[in-house]
Amino acid sequence: AEAAELRARLRAVRHTVLVLSGKGGVGKSTFSALLAHGLAADETKQVALLDIDICGPSIPKMMGLEGEQVHQSGSGWSPVYVEENLGVMSVGFLLSSPDDAVIWRGPKKNGLIKQFLRDVDWGEVDYLVVDTPPGTSDEHLALVQLLGAARIDGAVILTTPQEVSLQDVRKEINFCRKVKLPIIGVVENMSGFVCPKCKNESQIFPPTTGGAEMMCQNLNVSLLGKVPLDPQIGKSCDRGQSFLAEAPESPATLSYRNIIQRIQEYCEQHHFQEEKIM
């Protein structure tokens, strides 16, 4: 019965995109939030953003939803809506205080993720974006097993240019291959900084081993784009505002928009191929 409930919820979701990285602090949540905003810019599309980072849920703050609570209804848990067509769910909404630590072992975390997928009443959804914690562990396995690799359009993998990040990201790519999760592509964040005053470019995180570009070539995955550092990104995140809306002229915004478009195109094609087969 549980499995049937889960299947029913997921049937109402047209496209699912996972945002992953082996490495922490490379911009998964930032990207997930902006991807959700970008997709929801089309008011005819219904977008859902699910934050399964149970220990460090960043999405509520980034979406300006801190302090919001989750309500239960007859049809399940209601997501918190940022826009009419953009709903959000995170363990952050279940905490009584934002500083409460969720100190759970794997099995309990898996239980919550299962509940999120089964009990949240998203309704009909065009895009489900799932933000994940760093690593390749319980949360990631639970997600792939519960959603089923076949139902996920693919994963977007985030990295920064330096080898210390890439070495963790290669593991993530191998994880995706192991569990047969398609990889939409890799995004390289914090890829250079252009000084707004003198316009000189600095490599704050030098790509000592060729950056994401070299890694993608070697591992035969798509490089979706490179996003430069922009201090406004962190500020917008801290304030719960969409960076794309607050800094429409930033080179980072341009990069993000191009990447989001590529992801949309990938998903539309993916669906089209499925329909062709049917």
């Binding site: 922490g24 220990c55 794997g106 562990s137 920064t160 210390v164 070495q167 593991k171 801290d238």
Partner: protein
Amino acid sequence: TLPEGSNLAGVQHIVLVLSGKGGVGKSTISTELALALRSAGKRVGILDVDLCGPSIPRMLRAQDSAVHQCASGWVPVLLGQDTALALMSIGFLLERPDDAVVWRGPKKNALIKQFVTDVAWGDLDFLIVDTPPGTSDEHISTVEALRPYQLLGAILVTTPQ
């Protein structure tokens, strides 16, 4: 009292390096702290319990090292002419560095317990324990396993935002 012949009996102080957040510099700080203490003439060990993303070996250019076992457990990788820096990380146990360690909690816990109790550290002034981001299996198991010993405390690392 400590168990007889405990591998941590010769360790004077244990420091955990923590952060809820990923990518703020835990491994970097752990490495620099260890090197600074060694420069000050101390014998230092680093235990890297980040099973999914072990960064310490590369930071000390030890990524190609292998570990061996002896009668009392794992022999840590010893660095430097004076071998005053000892290292243990799951990074050393991976056959291929790009292999993902896709383990659920219970298996991670078992390995961490082994790392904490079964590494033959010998005499150390400081053991620095680098952790992954979060507050989950690795952290619970590490603290539980270290509780009987001289836990000096935790250093918390963050970035400004």
